[in-house]
């Protein structure tokens, strides 16, 4: 086995560390023994982000691309904080600043660049002990994390800063310091800012934008010296004027860092001269990055650096031994003082054959310039608005032929094509993608007699897939049908037979004092009785008027007519009220006696902690009630059902709240309360939640400190939903008040048969909380009062045992043969069939 190839890299910055990563990505780790020298005492960080650190938008910890453990993980020896002092090309050894020797097979120089600081007068510290650097206190260059940290330390204590240099780096420094609250002056020798990247017009516009942000710009100013003795206090200009400052950043440009290479005798021009293979004049030594000069160019942007490291890594690793670097097309994108700027390639046209496209909008600080040569993009400046940059960048990078309309380059015609209105759409426009339904098909359905939105959907299958097209289908239906359109009753009406939403319906019933279902039909539905609407209306009237309703028993389901629950064999079940599930020996004895006397076929403890007597005939019901002498448990109707409880505090070792007493109080207060759909409640004495209060329509759970959490909208049936925490209260009384308030609001706002688990999400928990807890709509007192009225008017229906409402109420004889059994609206015919099918299949 051959010994590993010794790769030594001088420089641990954006180019040096990247090169090592690139090599390792291309070769087995054990093929190379990699050693690196780095001036700075830590791993490699992202120098691009230093301006973010200065501005405070980036944390120093977040800019490290290769923290120290990266080097150990990858078996790279990093001499952190140790620069390279000398190269012995004969012996192929690099000596570190601490004298250590590292022999190499291949050496890569990636020493980057150093800031250029002109020889200003009074630049040096007055005495050597004053300050750590070669400059006067308060004077900085902007190159390293350390520079950045020192600048920040001073910025915290001073008021004004000057930046010498109106190029990219200077403006980044100005942005950072301005963001830290300093008054910033930018001093620039040239006639406009960023002359390397921008043309004059763009430079002036950028200046305006910067000045509007509070940065002062001084153009054409040559600095000759610094003012101040210990620390810098100002600048002296060639024209005799001066400028005060407490902090100075010198950003007058950078120079390739070639000192080491020069002393090693490598060929140097502006930078270390490299071939297309990135080799220096010594074939064992390569150079990459800002220190290298390739085909006469030195690059200072990160993208070209990385293109160079990729080429060199291909060669070193042997993946593509003859890979060549042919130079880079430069472009950059940045924010200058929060002003977006993107520049690519050339900034000025070369000759009259070049096509120059410009667009300027000085009011918004927007300036665009494209240079097109032979139908291809060779240069671009986008200032103030860079939204076209990603697309232009690609056209520039790949030298793609441009579309004829140059405007379309600068103003991409929107992501979204303009939406045609429903009326303007052609007939073949596809509306429902899921089922391939065109506008024409929807129009056809309307012509063929569909009168509602729902009918159109059923007929065409539009909207039956993902449902996203419903808005469009509605718009077409409305546009085409116009006045002939019937709105979809299921969507808005409380019941299909009366064309009113619930609120409107309640208003009308109140206004006209309607007390019976048939009155409602007469007055509000032109006398057209809709059997499917009767039960809902009866429920609503009961909610509104309590006992002051003119009962019309055919408006109600059989269950509500005979106050018992019809079973599949047409017998009935009777559930007496047992408040909070707490009973007594005497009551149990009564129940047992009834069970014996009437030959009850099954005695069953229900899920709600009650006792169900099953298999009774209709005629037996009044007698059973009389014998029981207990109130109705309302196990049959759309109403408050039961409040399940746990043992509470009296006996339970864990209980922290008396859930039993609370449950009984709730059940006593709200028994028989009619509502849009059934309501199952529970109270739990501790968060162990034995009574499952968090999956009830309303549940109260005791927590430490005598407090109660109230949950609403829970369910544990065919649909399972964890209740939402409405609020936490301090007392049982508050639980009862809020429970009643919520129930009343639900009674008023919910659709018929809409359980709380649909109601709460539909209203949104925030809204429910606002109304019930915070009284944001100012109706709490009214809700409480209406609930009190309802509670006061409660009459136990089983008292009808003593006086039947009409002679045949409990006799089988007059009952029509085909009584519709209560049908849950949620179950479609298809489902009903499905269940039957499933049963048959078993």
């Amino acid at each position: 086995m051959t010994s590993p190839h010794r790769l030594v890299v001088i420089g641990n910055g954006m180019a040096g560390a990247r090169l090592v990563e690139d090599v390792l990505a291309r070769a087995n780790g054990d093929r190379f023994q990699v050693t690196m020298f780095g001036d700075e005492p830590y791993g490699n960080y992202n120098r691009i982000l230093l301006s973010g650190v200065l501005a405070g938008t980036q944390q120093p910890d977040d800019i490290f691309i290769n923290p120290l453990d990266w080097y150990t993980d990858n078996n790279v020896t990093l001499h952190a904080g140790i620069g390279a002092a000398r190269i012995d090309r004969e012996a192929k050894v690099v000596y570190g600043s601490d004298g250590r020797a590292e022999p190499y097979d291949t050496l890569v120089i990636a020493t980057g660049s150093v800031p250029f600081v002109p020889p200003f007068e009074n630049l040096a510290p007055t005495e050597p002990a004053h300050g750590p650097g070669p400059y006067k206190d308060g004077v900085y260059v902007f190159r390293t994390l350390e520079d950045c940290e020192r600048m920040l330390a001073r910025a915290a204590d001073v008021k004004s800063a000057a930046v010498i240099g109106g190029g990219l780096l200077g403006l980044e420094a100005a942005r950072g310091l301005s963001g830290r609250g300093l008054e910033v002056n930018v001093v620039h020798l040239m006639e406009h800012l960023m002359e390397m990247q921008l043309d004059r017009d763009a430079g002036l516009m950028l200046q305006k934008s910067m000045e509007s942000l509070g940065v002062k710009v001084h153009l054409g100013k040559a600095t000759t010296g610094l003012l101040g003795n210990g620390s810098v206090t100002g600048l002296q200009f060639k024209d005799g004027s001066t400028l005060d400052c407490d902090l100075l950043v010198v950003a007058a440009g950078i120079r390739p860092n070639v000192a080491l290479a020069r002393s090693a005798g490598l060929e140097i021009k502006r930078g270390i001269v490299v071939s297309d293979g990135m080799a220096t004049s010594d074939p064992s030594i390569c150079a990459v990055g800002e220190c290298a000069e390739h085909r006469g160019l030195v690059y200072g942007l990160v993208a070209p650096l990385w293109e160079q490291t990729a080429v060199l890594a291909d060669r070193i690793s042997g993946r593509v031994e003859d890979k060549v670097y042919e130079g880079s097309r430069t472009s950059t994108k940045l924010k200058v003082m929060g002003v977006d700027l993107a520049v690519m390639g050339e900034k000025q046209s070369r000759d009259a054959d070049d096509e120059v496209v410009t667009y300027a909008e000085p009011g918004r600080g927007v300036y665009h310039k494209l240079i097109v040569r032979d139908g291809k993009l060779v240069g671009a400046i986008l200032l103030g608005d860079t939204s076209a940059a990603p697309a232009l960048q690609q056209l520039f990078d790949r030298s793609t032929s441009l579309p004829e309309s140059r405007a379309s380059l600068l103003f991409p015609m929107g992501d979204a094509p303009a939406q045609l209105s429903a009326a303007d759409m052609p007939d073949d426009a596809q509306i429902c993608n899921c089922n391939g339904v065109s506008k024409g098909a929807i129009v056809g359905a309307l012509r063929n007699g569909c009168k509602t939105f729902k009918a159109v959907c059923d007929a065409t299958r539009a909207g039956t897939g993902c449902g996203s097209c419903k808005v469009q289908v509605k718009a077409i239906v409305e546009a085409v049908a116009g006045d002939n359109l019937q709105d979809d009753p299921a969507a808005h009406y409380y019941v299909p037979g009366v064309a009113m939403a619930k609120r409107e319906l309640i208003g009308a019933i109140k206004d006209m004092n309607l007390r019976s279902v048939s009155q409602v039909f007469d007055v509000l539905a032109a006398g057209r009785e809709d059997p499917g609407s009767k039960a809902g209306l009866a429920s609503l009237l009961k909610t509104m008027w309590g006992n002051d309703v003119v009962e019309e028993r055919d408006a109600r389901f059989i269950n509500d007519r005979v106050h018992a629950n019809i079973q599949k064999d047409r017998t009935y079940s009777v559930v007496p009220r047992i408040f909070g599930g707490v009973t007594s020996a005497a009551d149990l004895r009564k129940i047992a006696d009834v069970a014996d006397k009437y030959n009850v076929r099954m005695v069953k403890i229900t899920g709600g902690q009650r006792i169900d007597l099953l298999g009774l005939t209709r005629e037996q019901l009044p007698e059973v009630w009389k014998d029981l002498g207990m109130p109705s448990g309302h196990a049959y109707t759309k109403a408050f059902r039961t409040c399940k409880t746990c043992v509470g505090t009296e006996f339970c070792r864990f209980g922290v709240g008396d859930s039993t007493a609370l449950g009984i109080a709730i059940e006593k207060r709200f028994q028989g309360l009619e509502s849009p759909a059934k309501m199952k409640l529970a109270t739990a004495g501790c968060p162990r939640n034995c009574s499952e209060a968090t999956v009830k329509d309303i549940g109260a759970v005791a927590i430490e400190g005598g407090r109660w959490e109230i949950y609403i909208g829970g369910a544990a049936g065919a649909h399972v939903r964890k209740g939402d925490l409405l609020t936490t209260v301090d007392s049982q009384d508050e639980v009862i008040t809020l429970t009643g308030r919520f129930m009343q609001w639900y009674r008023e706002e919910a659709k018929y048969l809409e359980r709380t688990y649909d109601f709460v999400p539909r209203m949104g928990l925030e809204r429910v909380r606002a109304v019930i807890v915070d009284d944001a709509e100012g109706i709490a007192a009214r809700l409480d009062a209406d609930m009190q009225t309802t509670v006061d008017s409660f009459v136990d229906p089983w008292l009808e045992a003593h006086a039947p409402v009409h002679p045949s109420q409990f006799s089988q004889v007059l009952e029509p043969a085909a009584v519709p059994v209560a049908v849950e609206v949620r179950a479609s015919r298809a489902e009903a069939l499905a269940f039957r099918g499933a049963e048959a299949g078993r």
Binding site: I63, P390, R398, N433
Partner: protein, 720 residues
């Protein structure tokens, strides 16, 4: 096997995608379907594929008897006994001359759990070959590998779909459910209705992207750069969920360092996504209390599919989503039983229950149930594409048995795959129709369809559901289970395949997964019916299933989720002067996968009947192509002729093609067969292509209902 008498209404599931929408199938007067409102996943909704599910059952082109190639090279009807004898002979001859590993078996994510399980057992016990894999390799392998690496377990969605509705933000990366699984979009609509945001990442402004609050439209093949850019902004802006990262994850420091190298300006340059939108999306994610990150085939079907998926997982972890109730990371499975299909042992490296075939304990456990010696179970075999590549080569697969996998249309570099199949000694295919792959076979078996047999499927949520028999299969059509049992018998292994019903198979499957990652041991047909589905794992009779995974701990040894530092790499093939555009592929709503079923349904062809290539107007204008014009798309692997669809929905540097069509319209003749190093997933989603206007006469109407090619192919021996 005798079937129960057909009933007139049956609650079952759609035969297509992984959503497995509940349907109610009515059997009289003819088979028809409606959405099942009682099934929570779709609550009655169906897309056009589902509505038309009945049309494939009683279809005139349906295979109704076995076919075998005669001496003249024609496929002719034969009896079942002959067909099975001939397959068994092909297998036995190959084992004798080349060894058992020269027999290859390819299964499918469309098979029921029972069939997938049985096919895996058949390969290992009856044939003794290591070389079994399935078409899910092209679907979920990258996502599954990434999930296993990050969370220690792969269940596509470790939470029920209903959780999506309550989130503040959902990020969908490279998935187009508005076309691939439309009823899924109802959850997104509800989310938006509640004020939640939808972020979509897709090089196309797809039907789903059009619903997005923010659409990021990156260059194909730049997912990791984009995800790392999002990560950078999340960290930069202090939006990382630090307590979660400390408590529930490991490996963050390295990811943070990688993110430092992906600042927004750079990411914009790599991906083409404007910095402003990147930052906007990151802030949406980072400021949401409840959120989801979901990936699809976009990032996964690449040679860096696993890395791409891991980069999106990193985002979810930094936001603290995975394993948090009401939040999460998930992968949207594509095929109907893509989930169950990868759990029960038809994957080259796995045994039932998601057990590793190299784990001695797993081998012992399964061997015990199978009543074989652990040593007799072969080791890991070749992945699907590598298996196909080896066909007919020295030391490769010589005889291949394929069940429900139309490899000639769905594999990358499809021309090469057809050549390989043609060089086999023996090929047998079981399918409903004479698929493009079946056309090349020596024996073709007609298989029963979704409405004709019982079984279970596992949908994208890990919910095990019942597929139920509604009608009797046509005379002459057999269940795949019967086929496997019949072949096992002919290979002298009947004793190990003693089943009377699919339920018998399921019960054995359940035992074989006891204690495994995907533990089905507590699931029974009765429990599935009673609960309308059971989420695995369900380890005991009393257990009701596990809708949400990872709430307490992840399935890694430490219980923590793992970050993985991943960097952007160029796709295997980048555009150049000769092939200057990216080609990316995907699906359209009215067609499904290789189109074997949907291309035969008139109602679906009326919506999308032929392949198209989507081009941006700028690109089209440059190439002098007009909307509706004919063009060729060419790559280094092949060339196709399709119709141009000029639309602003695609990036100017990219051409998009759906992959459902065969022959001259086959997108997969173009795609790149570069494989992910870990998942062996081919790079379907990005390669270099060129587009040229087609000048020659275009009167020949392209159409999948044209039977010409089928008949022509039947009349010649493709392997001569």
């Amino acid at each position: 096997m005798t079937a129960p008498a057909a009933v007139d209404v049956v609650e079952t599931h759609c035969p297509y995608c992984a959503l497995q929408c509940g349907i109610v199938a009515r059997t009289s007067p003819t088979l028809s379907v409606v959405g099942n409102r009682a099934f929570p996943v779709n609550a009655g909704a169906l897309c056009a594929k589902g509505w038309n599910a009945a049309a494939v059952v009683d279809h005139p082109e349906r295979l109704r008897e076995p076919l075998a190639r005669d001496r003249a090279g024609r496929l002719v009807p034969v009896g079942w006994r002959y067909a099975l004898d001939r397959i068994a002979l092909g297998i036995r001859d190959t084992i004798r001359t080349h060894g058992a590993d020269a027999v290859g078996i390819l299964g499918s994510g469309a098979l029921t759990n029972e069939k997938a399980y049985l096919l895996g057992k058949f390969a290992r016990v009856a044939v003794g070959t290591a070389n079994i894999d399935y078409n899910g390799r092209y679907c979920m392998s990258s996502g599954a590998a990434a999930s296993n690496k990050a969370f220690g377990l792969d269940r596509g969605l470790p939470f029920p779909l209903e959780d999506l509705e309550h989130a503040d933000v959902v990020l969908l990366a490279g998935s187009n459910p508005a076309e691939t699984m439309p009823p899924f979009v109802r959850y997104l609509e509800t989310l938006k209705g509640r004020g939640g945001a939808l972020v979509v990442i897709d090089p196309r402004r797809s039907a789903t992207a059009q619903l997005a609050t923010i659409h990021l439209q990156p260059m194909p093949g730049t997912d990791t750069a984009l995800a790392n850019g999002l990560l950078h902004v999340l960290l930069r802006d202090g939006l990382a969920n630090q307590p979660y990262i400390e408590r529930r994850t490991e490996g963050f420091a390295k990811v943070r360092a990688v993110a430092a190298g992906y600042w927004p300006e750079l990411v914009e340059r790599i991906t083409g996504v404007p910095e402003k939108k990147l930052v906007e999306a990151a802030r949406l994610l980072g400021t949401s209390a409840r959120g989801f990150v979901l990936t699809g085939r976009g990032p996964e079907q690449q040679a860096q599919g696993v890395a791409n998926t891991l980069s999106y997982i990193n985002i979810a972890l930094v936001c603290g989503f995975p394993g948090t109730e009401g939040s999460g990371f998930g992968i949207l499975t594509g095929q109907g039983n893509g989930q169950g299909g990868r759990e029960h042992g038809q994957k080259a490296d796995q045994l039932p229950g998601y057990r590793s075939i190299t784990d001695p304990a797993a081998r012992r456990a399964v061997a015990g149930v199978w009543r074989v010696s652990p040593d007799s179970i072969p080791g890991p075999g070749k992945s699907a594409y590598e298996l196909l590549q080896s066909c007919g080569t020295e030391g490769g697969v010589r005889a291949l048995f394929v069940m429900g996998f139309n490899a000639v249309v769905s594999s990358p570099s499809a021309n090469e795959v057809a050549t390989r199949l043609a060089s086999l000694d023996f090929l047998a295919v079981s399918d409903f129709f004479l698929s493009e792959t079946a056309k090349m076979a020596d024996v073709v078996l007609p298989s029963a369809q979704w409405a004709e047999e019982d079984g279970t499927m596992t949908n994208l949520e890990g919910r095990v559901i019942r597929r139920k028999r509604a009608v009797a299969a046509p005379l002459g059509v057999a269940s795949d289970i019967g086929v496997i049992v019949g072949l096992a018998e002919r290979l002298g292994k009947r004793k190990w395949f003693a089943y009377d019903t699919p339920e018998d198979v399921f019960n054995e499957l359940a035992r074989a997964t006891k204690g495994a990652p995907a533990d089905y041991s507590g699931i029974t047909y009765a429990k599935i019916e009673a609960q309308r589905g059971v989420f695995w794992p369900c380890p005991s009779a009393e257990h009701t299933g596990t809708p949400r995974l990872f709430l307490d701990a992840f399935a890694t040894p430490s219980g923590k989720a793992r970050f993985h530092a991943v960097k952007h790499k160029l796709p295997a093939e980048a555009p150049d002067k000769e092939y200057p555009l990216y080609l990316t592929t995907g699906r359209v709503l009215a067609q499904y996968q290789s189109g074997t079923m949907t291309r035969r349904v008139a109602a679906l062809n009326a919506m999308s009947g032929t392949a198209v290539a989507e081009l941006h107007p700028q690109t089209a204008a440059r190439l002098k192509i007009t909307d509706g014009g004919r063009l060729t798309v060419k790559t280094r692997r092949g060339s196709v002729e399709v119709t141009a669809k000029v639309t602003r929905d695609i990036r100017p540097d990219t051409v998009f093609m759906p992959f459902h069509w065969p022959d001259e319209q086959s997108a997969n003749r173009l795609t790149n067969d570069a494989l992910d190093p870990i998942s062996r997933m081919p790079e379907f989603k990005v390669c270099a292509a060129r587009v040229d206007p087609l000048v020659k006469d275009s009167t020949k109407a392209p159409g999948s209902t044209d039977l010409g090619p089928v008949l022509r192919d039947l009349s010649k021996d493709t392997r001569s």
